[in-house]
């Protein structure tokens, strides 16, 4: 990594460096402190990523973070009613779930409902750190294939709050991790989650990120997920941050032998967002399905960056991402699939499709296949197009007004990504979520 001390610090970088020297830093226990200080050193050396770094070609954080986002000090005073109202707006509100709620970064037991049977441990990371169980100490910070990246480094630098979840059997209902943002002023909220799915277990995790309108925070969230031998993970995340917010997310998935992981992300919020997913195959006969949808308007910017590392033979990976882009919004898809020399019989397919609702919207796709094995089936594709005029005509010829016809066609386009989600209830909730966006959006148009 290049030292860029000669380069002038941006306000955002300066604010983080000031925070590194301040006294509000999380501290203890020792095993975590060493990771935190290494992360701070990494950030001091690298600064914020910018467009001359290949993986950040399209998302220039040095440029896009115009202000400083110092870590949020004291969480604001409780306003339980307000939080509850926000929770009710989660797309998953109608589902029967257990809940762990984090308001402005901090775990709120009075808003949560952790009853999920004996097979699931749900801990508040901040509260368990002093006497952390082995499954936390041995995994936290370890399920990271790219710990050096800027989001991860900044996250570790301030890591203290988040959820630590261990699933040892079949979850009877989903666990929803809810992240609410209400505090005002530019600030960073850091959350770090650890999800350990033990051998043969089946985890079902939902995440919703909800922001109060008008707020301009930066949410930095890293989730480490270890999916053990023959275990199953269903993971669905919905990002509905405030319009002016920044959402920087880094999801790391490690898969053991015979494991099945299905992770989906839907985004409609934030002015700038980046979803990184790093997945690593640790055992053979493993399946990974990554999918997602984003619906953007105005000048929103959403970057999905994936890296799938086929380190062992006989594994399957599927990626399907759908983007609906209006106005001057910009959607980015970077997908890298590496197949190492010994990873024979790898089956990897990737597709990203954008629907451009305006000529001024932009879609950038950078698929990358790095294949070092010869007996593999891999493919990728990216398409961009606008709504099919013939389809629109047919629907209107049956009396469906243009706006409604557009909404039907957009829902059909995006629905193909939702189809990747296994739970019927969750899929329906996602359809409702997309429908709400379309209603709001087409009304406005």
């Amino acid at each position: 990594m290049q030292m860029n001390s000669a380069v002038e610090k941006t306000p955002a970088e300066a604010a983080y460096l000031v925070a590194f020297d301040g006294d509000g830093l999380p501290s203890g226990p020792a095993w975590l402190d060493s990771q935190r200080s290494a992360a701070r050193a990494a950030f001091v050396a690298s600064g914020l990523p910018h467009r001359r770094i290949e993986e950040w070609k399209y998302t220039d954080l040095r440029n896009q973070l115009a202000a400083g986002y110092p870590p949020l000090g004291e969480a604001p005073l409780a306003d339980v009613a307000r939080f509850q109202e926000m929770i009710a707006a989660s797309p998953f509100a109608g589902l029967d779930t257990a809940r762990a709620v984090f308001a402005d970064g901090v775990f709120r037991p009075e808003l949560s409902n952790l009853a999920l049977g004996d097979d699931v441990d749900i801990l508040s990371l901040a509260e368990c750190l002093d006497e952390a169980p082995d499954w936390v100490t041995s995994n936290l910070g370890q399920v990271m294939s790219r710990p050096d990246n800027a989001i991860a480094a900044l996250n570790m630098a301030f890591a203290r709050h988040g959820a630590a979840v261990r699933v040892r059997g079949r979850q009877e209902k989903p666990l929803e991790l809810i992240f609410l943002h209400t505090a005002s002023g530019h600030h960073t909220v850091t959350n770090r989650n650890l999800i350990v799915v033990e051998e043969g277990a089946h985890a079902h995790i939902l995440e919703s990120h909800l922001g109060a309108s008008g707020q301009e925070y930066l949410a930095n969230i890293v989730t480490e997920i270890s999916v053990g031998k023959s275990a199953v993970l269903d993971h669905v995340k919905v990002q509905m941050e405030a319009d002016g917010a920044v959402h920087l997310s880094d999801v790391n998935i490690w898969l053991g032998e015979n494991a099945n992981a299905n992770s989906f992300v839907a985004s409609t919020g934030a002015s700038v967002s980046r979803n990184q997913v790093f997945a690593e195959f640790g055992g053979e006969h493993t399946n990974l399905n990554l999918s997602g949808a984003c619906m953007l308007a105005g000048s929103q910017h959403c970057d999905t960056t994936l890296e799938v590392d086929h380190a062992v033979p006989h594994c399957t990976s599927r990626e399907l991402f759908k983007l609906v882009l209006d106005d001057t919004s910009r959607g980015i898809f970077q997908g890298k699939v590496s197949v190492r020399p010994n990873a024979q019989k790898t089956d990897g397919k990737q597709m990203a499709q954008a629907l451009l609702l305006a000529e001024t919207a932009e879609f950038d796709a950078k698929p990358e296949l790095e294949i070092f094995a010869d007996d593999v089936v891999c493919g990728h594709g990216a398409t961009a197009g606008d709504l099919d005029e013939e389809h629109l005509y047919y629907l209107r010829a049956r009396g469906i007004p243009k706006r409604e016809a557009m909404a039907l066609l957009i829902a059909a386009f995006i629905g193909e990504a939702f189809d990747e989600v296994t739970s019927d209830d969750v899929r329906e909730a996602l359809a409702g979520f997309a429908g709400a966006w379309l209603d709001q959006h087409t009304e406005r148009g």
Binding site: L395, G399, A405
Partner: protein
């Protein structure tokens, strides 16, 4: 009900004129058949009536129920009771047939100031009509027309028509691609809609359909003009002699 006067139409981005002064008057309760050689402009006429944007009207007028049809949006025409059963119905992946039908029916009802149908009432209606038209329930579970055979697509068009109960039905070669039994079922479906305040324009190449759906008037469209109008016996004549007579006229 429908009054087409001296209608001239060309393709929007080109100069080629397709309709060259069509005149046609359809009164409530009437069934008109339009026959004519390939490429004579029959589908173009039906598209222009429905409001398809690829065409440009350069001259003439179309009055529907006293209103200027050409001034109406595509969806307004549909809500006002105009229905076009397409010669080549398209597939719309991802849009479930039932969602499509319900959205269309309720949008039309809403536009006409009528109450929207409840889901159970809607389901009952569609089931009933599907049964009459021998449309398998399994087909209704698929996205609009996706994977339907040619004949199934035509039947699905008539199902849509039966559910939407339009006032002016334009059937563009609905008979082509239908097997003998399906032709009868579809014709029965169309006849069930015949009423003193509904009218139909049936575009076809074959006398056979007109045995089932007996027309009041038959027109021959050739080279963008109505070149002959007569009673139902005209269809028989055409079946016997072809269009040679008109093609010389047009040339």
């Amino acid at each position: 009900m429908l009054d087409i006067k001296n209608l001239h139409v060309k393709i929007a981005d080109e100069d080629t004129e397709i309709l060259k002064g069509v005149n046609l008057t359809v009164n409530p309760g009437e069934v008109h058949a339009i026959m004519g050689p390939n490429g004579s402009g029959k589908s173009t006429l039906s598209y222009v009536l429905s409001g398809k944007e690829d065409y440009e009207v350069t001259e003439g007028s179309v009055t529907y129920d006293g209103a200027d049809l050409l001034d109406m949006e595509i969806e307004e025409r549909a809500s006002a009771g105009l229905f076009l059963a397409f010669q080549y119905p398209i597939e719309i992946p991802g849009v479930p047939t039932m969602t499509f039908l319900r959205t269309a029916l309720n949008a039309q009802r809403k536009a006409r100031g009528e109450e929207e149908l409840t889901t159970p009432a809607f389901m009952k209606l569609v089931k009933e009509k599907a049964q009459q038209l021998k449309v398998r329930p399994e087909m209704l579970k698929r996205p609009v027309n996706v994977g339907f055979s040619g004949g199934e697509k035509k039947r699905a068009e008539i199902l849509q028509m039966a559910v939407l109960e339009p006032k002016l039905c334009v059937l563009d070669e609905t008979d082509s691609g239908l097997d003998i039994d399906a032709l009868r079922v579809v014709a029965e479906g169309v006849n069930a809609l015949r009423s003193p305040d509904r009218a139909m324009i049936v575009i076809t190449h074959y006398q056979r359909l007109l045995e089932y759906i007996v027309p009041d008037v038959v027109h021959v469209l050739s080279n963008g003009r109505v070149v002959k109008t007569g009673g139902k016996e005209l269809a028989l004549e055409l079946e016997a002699n072809g269009y040679a007579e008109f093609e010389t006229e047009a040339a």
